[in-house]
């Protein structure tokens, strides 16, 4: 998530000071993504250094320092909104690795391991759904963020279901190990799995 561009977006609405930016950021994202105030000020300093925002001393009463977006900041924001987002899968998906390992470890029931993760993910989905159930129609930010999490987690459950079904088609538990260590199992980048005995 780009805090930098989120702050530019808030400043595009008009000049704001640091604490206000933090509060508005959290409110707009349904408080699902907490942001500490230090992060806000560090980001503002970098934005100012890069000429994307400028501070306006004296605009605000009291010690607060206000910030406004520059025209370069506006161009940067417009470009970012349309640039492709990072969609590549993480280099090592820990859950995938755990299931791959569970297939190989003697005495471990891979279906039970899959189910433990399925339950954990569904419990998280229940929590997000509660947030959504309690939200009002007007809390659009919260709805969007929660839906994004729910669709992502649903994808994980569907992968677990598919993995379960795929593993169930294997002939018998005793032959699972033989299948699992066959060279057809793809190597995991940067991670050496259960070396063959």
């Amino acid at each position: 998530m780009s805090v930098r561009h989120a702050l530019l977006a808030l400043l595009a609405e008009g000049p704001k000071y640091g604490l206000q930016l933090r509060q508005e950021f959290e409110a707009r994202t349904g408080e699902v993504w907490p942001l500490n105030v230090g992060q806000v000020y560090t980001t503002l300093q970098r934005l100012e250094r890069d000429g994307l925002v400028e501070s306006e001393d004296g605009t605000w009463e009291g010690p607060q320092k206000g910030f406004r977006i520059t025209s370069a900041g506006g161009r940067e924001l417009a470009e970012w909104l349309r640039s492709p987002s990072e969609m590549a899968s993480p280099p090592r998906d820990e859950l995938v690795i755990k299931v791959l390992v569970a297939v190989r470890v003697p005495g471990v029931d891979v279906h039970e391991v899959v189910q433990v993760h399925r339950r954990h993910v569904v419990e998280m989905m229940q929590q997000y759904t509660r947030l959504k159930a309690e939200a009002t129609e007007r809390e659009v930010g919260l709805g969007l963020v929660v839906d994004a999490e729910l669709f992502r987690l649903e994808g994980v459950v569907r992968w677990l279901d598919a993995a379960d079904a795929r593993l169930k088609r294997l002939p018998a538990p005793s032959s699972v190990a033989a299948v699992a260590v066959s060279p057809r199992v793809p190597p995991i980048p940067g991670r050496k799995l259960g070396a063959r005995r």
């Binding site: 699902v32 189910q115 339950r119 993910v121 569904v122 419990e123 989905m125 159930a133």
Partner: protein, 241 residues
């Protein structure tokens, strides 16, 4: 407190000999009034069988089913049929509305079958549709309604009268995610009013609306979710990006 629905060591076997299929194996499940339980499992895990047995549409091979504390096995056919009409509401994936009846006639039908006069049944049917925001669709036929509207009519029919138990089989399977969510909100609202609900589904997003998710695999209950912690546990600061 008496459970609204209780399954005790319920097993179901179809066929015999080499073609025998064990659809359910010693399933225990208890659902309280006000609770929404989702049963999740892949195709062939026994989900639909569980629901038809819970709704007394089918008898278990062994084990017992209690609805509102009353054992189904101790009832005559007529008593069971009356209990089904009065206490249990069903929602199916394909809505199961009668094409020749209007929305309000579909909703009023179970009440009329139960002996209520036509006018009173119509008034209660209209009330149920109004609660689901469908008052202006009452006189439409099912083929004049959208998929989401049809399912809301089916839910109104399942909830009309004084039902204690709502059973739903993939209730939003044929709907898009927005309408699917609307269906689950309605089922949740019914449970908040004290009805016990059981939804069987393979869809995790639907199941997540439930208070408790029970996982079925090869006819057995293999796991269930713990009572979910409050949403605030999601808000703990994680690793920053």
């Amino acid at each position: 407190m008496t459970a609204a629905l209780e399954l005790r060591r319920v097993s179901k076997v179809y066929g015999s000999g080499p073609t025998e299929v064990q659809a359910l194996c010693e399933v225990d499940l208890s659902v309280r009034g006000g609770e929404l339980v989702a049963v999740m499992g892949p195709s062939g895990s026994g989900k639909s069988t569980l629901l038809t047995i819970a709704g007394s549409l089918e008898e278990p091979t062994s084990g017992g089913v209690l609805v509102g504390g009353a054992a189904l096995s101790g009832m005559s056919r007529n008593e069971r049929a009356r209990m089904r009409r009065r206490s249990i509401g069903y929602v199916f994936q394909d809505f199961n509305l009668l094409a020749g009846l209007t929305a309000v006639e579909n909703v009023a039908l179970p009440l009329e079958l139960d002996g209520l006069g036509g006018r009173a049944a119509h008034a209660m049917g209209l009330q149920a549709l109004t609660e689901l925001g469908l008052a202006d669709r009452a006189d439409r036929y099912p083929d004049e309604l959208s998929g989401g509207e049809r399912q809301r009519v089916a839910i109104a029919r399942a909830m009309v009268g004084d039902r204690h138990l709502l059973l739903a089989d993939e209730p939003s399977g044929a709907l898009d995610s927005v309408n699917g969510e609307a269906v689950m909100r309605l089922l949740r609202a019914a449970c908040h009013r004290g009805v016990a609900g059981v939804v069987v589904t393979h869809d995790a997003q639907l199941a997540a609306w439930a208070d408790r998710v029970v996982f079925l695999r090869d006819g057995r209950v293999v796991d269930q979710t713990a009572l979910p912690a409050g949403p605030e546990s999601l808000l703990a600061p994680g690793p920053t990006a």
